[in-house]
């Protein structure tokens, strides 16, 4: 029960559903997971090697044609590690929002800059929310399977928080603009 890397758990989690290549794993991570977890090739391939060394996964040659394509399968030991991780109630949940940093220190710049920084953030959130809504719609069409609910729950977490972000953006812009106006009137 060594302190496994999170990327290991992501890989094991994905492989618990289907066999995948490193490249496929990257694509899956870039999908619905991407708004709360990231991964890169420079991250994934070394992790696959370590997991294979630890016998948590096995590789089989999946080249239909001779190129070195490898599909990975999870082993029983891998499933156990995944189960242990789920049972461990400690979880690191972190946010690092540079935008909030810029708002917090907004007094060091003009109010217009702060409004602009909020607008840039707002646009990004709107785009991401669209993406999440698309995922959600796709899930509703698809026949309900066992894991469906879990995917839906994470997507809905994203949708709800992003909606809260957008509400905050409106409020924040209004508040800053109001203060700009107050100042103008008192001049």
């Amino acid at each position: 029960m060594a302190r496994e890397k999170k990327i290991d758990m992501v890989i094991l989690g994905l492989l618990s559903h289907e066999d995948l290549t490193g490249y496929d794993i990257k694509k899956r991570i870039d999908g619905a997971i991407s708004f709360f977890w990231k991964g890169s090739f420079g991250n994934i391939y070394p992790a696959l090697k370590e997991l294979e060394d630890g016998k948590l996964i096995t590789a089989k040659d999946a080249s239909e044609d001779g190129r070195g394509k490898k599909a990975y399968q999870i082993t029983q030991k891998g499933r156990e590690a995944l189960g242990d991780w789920l049972l461990d109630e400690q979880a690191s949940n972190e946010i690092r929002y540079e935008t909030l940093l810029k708002i917090f220190f907004g007094g060091a710049g003009s109010r217009q800059i702060s409004v602009h920084n909020i607008e840039v953030f707002e646009r990004k959130v709107q785009d991401d929310l669209k993406m999440l809504n698309d995922y959600c719609a796709a899930l509703e069409k698809d026949p309900a399977n066992e894991d469906h609910m879990y995917y839906y729950l994470t997507v809905s977490f994203g949708i709800e928080t992003y909606k809260a972000y957008l509400a905050w953006c409106s409020k924040a812009k209004k508040m800053i603009r109001q203060q700009m106006q107050d100042e103008e009137e008192s001049r």
Copy 2:
């Protein structure tokens, strides 16, 4: 306009209001900022040294008594760097929620475990929300200064998103329990 580290900007931002020691800076970061940004001594002290080397801040001996206490001041050059950073509209906003990972892969464990993981998360959010509400109350009592609104905005961002988290927690637990019940009935 080199690609400055974010911790540098946090330090400059804090020093733009008041002179502080490294130890004080840590305390400030652990305050209202902590829910969207982190810092550690192993992070802060080397950054202070680099900022001093780059003449963005200056140190003066603040030992009332002979111990090597140093208070840092921001320089004009430091203020400019801070202003440039605020003007730069690109910002990295990331969340890494292991809890969501555990929910996403919840199918690999029992439903009870998923409910439990949500509850652990929920309790943490409730505690943090209390803290944020306290900050908010303190801000409302304090006389309104220039930067007040900016502090308020980031705190209110936290409050709003944490409320959305809690609403999601209730919904998610209900959904999982409902599915457990459905299954029991169809047995």
